[in-house]
């Protein structure tokens, strides 16, 4: 693994801290719907931003650090859902990043959120050993599309506002 320049590492650390803060603040909000798995996913703003501003490597590290630390603070079994959802979301965004311009960043977020939901359901099927929970996928997809659109537009807005600040080290791929 090549050495990460200190300025770049610090930038990634700050983004991780922001993502974790957003994640913890959101965890204090009451549930949006009486179904598990439906949430705004505001912390994804940081992941989408990092994917476009820093590149897939740093974005993956930030996501992984946020999921691990977030699960540590939140506790419980949620880490399995977060990890599988996060991994699916990351893979989807990795593929999409090449297809999209920064102005279409919201698409990346929406499809990432949908992949996240699919990953969550996959984990739920494995953990509960009830394939029947897969029927909730459409419900989660509706929420994923809407919340993904919201967080994607947020990320796009952040990206255009922060474009004057060049991320240290620039984009890597």
């Amino acid at each position: 693994m090549k050495k990460i320049p200190l300025r770049r590492l610090t930038y990634m650390a700050v983004l991780t801290a922001i993502a974790l803060t957003i994640f913890m603040a959101e965890a204090q909000l009451p549930a949006l719907a009486p179904l598990p798995g439906i949430k705004l996913g505001l912390a994804n703003i940081v992941t989408v931003y990092a994917m476009f501003a820093l590149g897939p490597g740093p974005a993956g590290l930030i996501l992984l650090a946020r999921v691990l630390l977030g699960s540590l603070f939140a506790g419980g079994m949620t880490i399995f859902y977060s990890l599988s959802g996060g991994a699916c979301c990351y893979l989807a965004m990795l593929l999409l990043r090449r297809l999209l311009t920064p102005r279409q960043m919201w698409v990346c977020s929406v499809l990432g959120a949908m992949a996240h939901n699919a990953g969550q359901i996959g984990a739920a099927v494995l953990i509960t050993r009830t394939p029947g929970v897969a029927v909730y996928l459409p419900v989660l997809l509706v929420s994923g599309i809407l919340t993904g659109l919201f967080t994607g537009l947020c990320a796009q807005f952040v990206f255009s506002r922060l474009s004057r600040i060049t991320p240290p080290g620039g984009r890597s791929s």
Partner: protein, 125 residues
């Protein structure tokens, strides 16, 4: 690079499809079933969609008696011996959002989508 229009149409189509599918899923969960738990054990179930005539039954617990009243589609605790009367003040419930809980009598009345042995739902903690 695909045009933005392509993505908008694709995502709108997926949104509409999954909206339709989720309406089917959520509607199909009918047959609201009131489950009466005492000390965490399921002691009685009432299928609220099958109730045509209102009726009452009583539940005995360590702190006295709860009188439970059932009407089509809803259920409540109408009287209790315990001092705080929290379960009575909660009134009628017809959805699974807030269960009726009587702590002194260790009684929980929870509305579930289907009888608890359904293979559709799983719970993890």
């Amino acid at each position: 690079m695909k045009s933005t229009k392509f993505w908008v149409i694709l995502l709108a189509a997926v949104l509409i499809l999954s909206l339709a599918a989720s309406l089917l899923v959520l509607r199909g969960r009918g047959g609201a079933c009131a489950c009466v738990y005492q000390d965490g054990r399921l002691t009685r179930t009432v299928d609220l969609s099958q109730v045509s005539e209102p009726f009452t039954f009583t539940v005995e617990g360590p702190a006295g008696t709860n009188t439970v009243q059932v009407e089509p589609g809803r259920i409540r605790v109408s009287a209790t011996d315990c001092p705080d009367q929290v379960c009575v003040h909660q009134g009628w419930i017809s959805t699974g959002v807030f269960p009726i809980v009587c702590l002194p009598n260790r009684l929980v009345i929870q509305i579930e989508d289907s009888p608890p042995d359904s293979n559709l739902d799983g719970v993890t903690q």
